[in-house]
């Protein structure tokens, strides 16, 4: 197990390095943050001077060398949009709010998807099942930003139950629901099919014949077997949220998290901040992947981690 984790960590490092290099090359070759930094009436000479001051006119290799040297010391440069603040610091200022959003959203997804999947599996093909399955499909077909607007129109504009924008827990309700619903759809399907499988298995039929209540059967074995694909998918959902969909949800609801900051950084071509965000996100993705694999092992020792 230890060797496996070690190998995965190395692979993770390659990923992180790869994506960092990619962003570095792409931003330096194509972009120019100075355009955004100075007011419109600044002269070309002033812009050129600013580029020199930021070291953007040096050869790419030299810039990359500097970057690597700083990276090793934990310095990911200074954000050009949030003036004078180290990029990593900006990331850690905004990250907690995204983590809140993802945590609450995923919790909601788990809490909703398990009962949904279990109920749907009771009578496969029955009305409840079909209704729930269709609802799940709808949930995962709607684009999240549209879902977000629908929620906002209903609950903020019309009903005025929830506020959105930066704030406390109440402002988190709608964005978390928005983040959770598509995941609920996908997760419920997994629970449902695993439960159907279990209920059909010979072992369970024997237990039923013996007279064990359904609840005990479900509780003891079925859920555990559903665990593996469920955890896999859950891990993927978390990754998908952190690495992309929080950007959309945070933009719609104006939740000032890392995704929102990523959108701002990209629009202002703030290289260092973009780099730092991608770096931190890549690290989180790698760690979650490894965590999922470990969870696998815990849930089913028979699973061979290859």
């Amino acid at each position: 197990m230890g060797r496996y984790i070690g190998r995965r960590l190395i692979q993770g490092l390659v990923v992180i390095f790869g994506v960092t290099v990619f962003v570095f090359v792409v931003t330096r070759l194509i972009g120019d943050p100075v355009k955004f930094m100075l007011p419109l009436s600044a002269t070309p000479e002033q812009r050129e001077a600013r580029r020199d001051a930021m070291g953007l006119n040096d050869p790419l290799v030299q810039q990359f060398g500097r970057f690597l040297r700083d990276l090793v010391q934990g310095d990911l440069g200074e954000s050009s949009y949030v003036r004078g603040t180290p990029a990593l610091e900006v990331v850690f200022d905004y990250l907690p709010r995204t983590l809140q959003l993802v945590a609450v959203g995923m919790l909601l997804a788990i809490v909703l998807s398990i009962p949904l999947g279990v109920i749907a599996s009771r009578k496969p093909g029955g009305t409840t099942d079909r209704v729930l399955t269709t609802l799940s499909l709808i949930g995962l077909s709607m684009p999240q930003f549209f879902l977000g607007y629908v929620l906002m129109i209903a609950f903020t504009v019309r009903l005025r139950w929830f506020e959105t924008g930066p704030g406390g827990f109440m402002n988190l309700v709608l964005p978390s629901i928005c983040l959770a619903l598509p995941a609920v759809g996908r997760l419920a399907v997994v629970v449902r099919s695993a439960m159907i499988d279990e209920l059909n298995s010979q072992y369970v039929k024997v237990a039923k014949a013996k007279g064990l209540t359904r609840r005990r059967i479900l509780g003891v074995h079925a859920l555990r077997n559903a665990g593996i694909p469920y955890v896999t998918l859950l891990g993927w959902e978390v990754i998908r949220a952190i690495a992309g969909y929080t950007v959309v949800v945070e933009s719609v609801f104006n939740w000032p998290g890392l995704g929102f900051m990523a959108s701002t950084a990209v629009k202002n071509q703030d290289f260092y901040l973009i780099q730092a965000i991608v770096f931190v996100v890549a690290v989180m993705v790698v760690l979650i992947n490894i965590a999922v694999d470990i969870a696998y092992k815990l849930l089913d020792p028979r699973v061979k981690l290859s």
Partner: protein
């Protein structure tokens, strides 16, 4: 089973912990507390607080929602509306303006006197202190000016364009200071309306973002990045005590979300109220500000080289309809010049080109360009209010007039490339020019003068006039020179003049405030009733 439960409970705990960790970003001030007696929150808890805690002041607490978070709180480094919205209340300048735009004394006791062509003398107010107790005197002014000069030299500020004529400052005595410029500079007083004064100790620091410290009516209390900044009234302020004791700023980029917060009572004042949502706000306030969208026409080359074509492009636009539809009526057609009526040099004799589509079509046919392609460049990131709609509407009008319009709306970065490309000027480039100093010099320099970064003409006479206007030291003389300059640009139709959209603010029921022409949000001018 146990493992599964363990995992689940771990997740639950994680979730709860994560929520709890960030849970203290609830409003530190609530807007539905009675306005009469409200003590400001104690500033002693977090590291990023001001050096002094002001004693409890009687007054109301309000919340203002801005469209963007300041990228820095240093008063000299960035050119950022968000930063100004907050720092205009913390710091002060030698001169200020009335809400209608007239220069008046502030930290200086009077308008400056000219010692010679390049030296201006200011007499400073006595009895003023900074929030940390440092007394305000000539040393502070000198330190501030020198800091700015240093920043410009080191390419460390975005505000070089405002202050590049400053060469130095000298303290004559404790309350008299002289400021020198590189040449005769009629704009100097306006510059001193913009330059925020800091203490000599602060002037030596690299970045003042973490502990803003000024002479203004409000002192910095605390900041939660991404969420809010809080200020509280400063007991030792030299001027009249403001009626608002405590103000919290929140950053809400989406217009719809800002409006929703206004309606629900979360916010007392919001900026950039979308024009078509005015009816939704409990109260709205509008003022003709300094925002001037124009289209720069290439007078040297291509389809727009013919002055009649340029005139046609102006005549083809129904500016009133644009004002009514794109800005829901909260805009006025621009009267043929880039200067707004409140600015020195505005030529009252010029009227907007009328809407005359027939004449436009005719001119285009006579010029032989009917059916030809004209390139119009806008931008797509919504930098200026409704600019995408505006540019698309213009494209429609020019199409009606008989041209084939190639409308391009690149992302802001690519758009800037087009705007600044001196070797290949595009036929028509949209830009919205705002005038921060309320002085004509910089605006005209940029767009009228052939040496400007945003201009598309080669008129040497025009360039000379603009330069003379800046260096003249007599306000009346400057006015005459500028009036002549804008007349030339109008006759030559160097621009397609559009509409000037008003600054729109949304106010809560209890807010009382009149907007200023310079768009500054001065909390000391605000009050609440009931």
């Amino acid at each position: 089973m146990r493992t599964r439960h363990r995992l689940l409970s771990a997740l639950v705990v994680l979730g709860v912990v994560a929520s709890a960790c960030g849970g203290d970003d609830d409003d530190t001030t609530s807007t539905d507390t009675p306005p009469a007696t409200e003590a400001p929150t104690d500033s002693g808890e977090t590291p990023t607080t001001s050096p002094t805690t002001s004693p409890a002041i009687e007054g109301a607490s309000i919340t203002i929602a801005l469209g963007s978070e300041p990228t820095s709180l240093d008063p000299h480094i960035v050119d950022d509306g968000g930063e100004r919205a907050i720092n205009d209340n913390i710091y002060e300048t030698l001169l200020a303006r009335t809400p209608d735009g007239e220069l008046i004394p502030s930290l200086a006791t009077d308008l400056p006197t000219l010692i010679d062509d390049t030296t201006w003398e200011f007499t400073l107010r006595e009895g003023v202190t900074f929030h940390d107790g440092t007394p305000f005197n000539a040393d502070a002014v000198v330190a501030t000016v020198e800091r700015m000069i240093g920043l410009i030299a080191a390419e460390g500020t975005d505000n070089a364009g405002f202050y590049d004529t400053l060469t130095g400052a000298t303290a004559i005595d404790e309350h008299t200071v002289q400021i020198t410029t590189s040449g005769p500079d009629g704009v100097l007083p306006a510059r001193m309306y913009w330059l925020k004064i800091v203490t000599p100790a602060d002037a030596a620091k690299d970045d003042l973002s973490s502990a803003p410290n000024g002479t203004g009516p409000y002192a910095f209390v605390e900041r939660e990045t991404g969420v809010a900044i809080e200020l509280a009234a400063y007991a030792g302020y030299w001027g009249d005590a403001p009626s608002i004791a405590d103000v919290t700023y929140r950053f809400v980029t989406e217009g719809g979300t800002r409006l929703a917060g206004l309606k629900s009572g979360q916010y007392d004042l919001i900026t950039n109220l979308p024009p078509n949502d005015v009816a939704q706000a409990p109260q709205a306030a509008a003022i003709q500000g300094q925002e001037n969208p124009i289209i720069i026409l290439d007078a040297d080359d291509g389809i727009t080289a013919d002055v009649n074509v340029r005139k046609a492009l102006n005549l083809a636009l129904d500016k009133q309809a644009i004002a009514d539809v794109v800005y829901a009526g909260y805009a006025v057609p621009v009267d043929g010049q880039l200067l707004s009526p409140s600015i020195l040099g505005h030529n009252d004799d010029i009227n907007a080109y009328p809407y005359d589509p027939e004449q436009a079509k005719q001119l285009l046919e006579e010029a032989g360009v009917a059916g030809e392609t004209i390139t119009l460049v806008g931008e797509s990131s919504g930098r200026w209010l409704n600019d995408r709609e505006l540019v698309e509407a213009i494209a429609s009008y020019w199409t009606e007039a008989g041209l084939n319009v190639d409308l391009q709306t690149p992302e802001f970065g690519a758009y800037l490339d087009v705007l600044f490309d001196r070797s290949n000027r595009a036929d028509a480039i949209f830009v919205s020019s705002s005038n921060d100093l309320l002085d004509p010099s910089r605006q005209l320099n940029t767009y009228y003068s052939l040496s400007g970064v945003g201009s598309s003409n080669s008129n040497a006479e025009l360039q000379q006039l603009v330069a003379d206007g800046q260096s003249s030291l007599d306000a009346d003389e400057r006015a005459t020179i500028y009036q002549e300059a804008v007349q030339i640009a109008y006759d030559e139709a160097y621009f397609a003049f559009l509409v000037s959209n008003q600054d729109l603010y949304g106010l809560s029921e209890r807010m009382e405030w009149t907007p200023r022409v310079d768009s500054k949000l001065l909390v000391k001018e605000m009050s609440v009733n009931g």
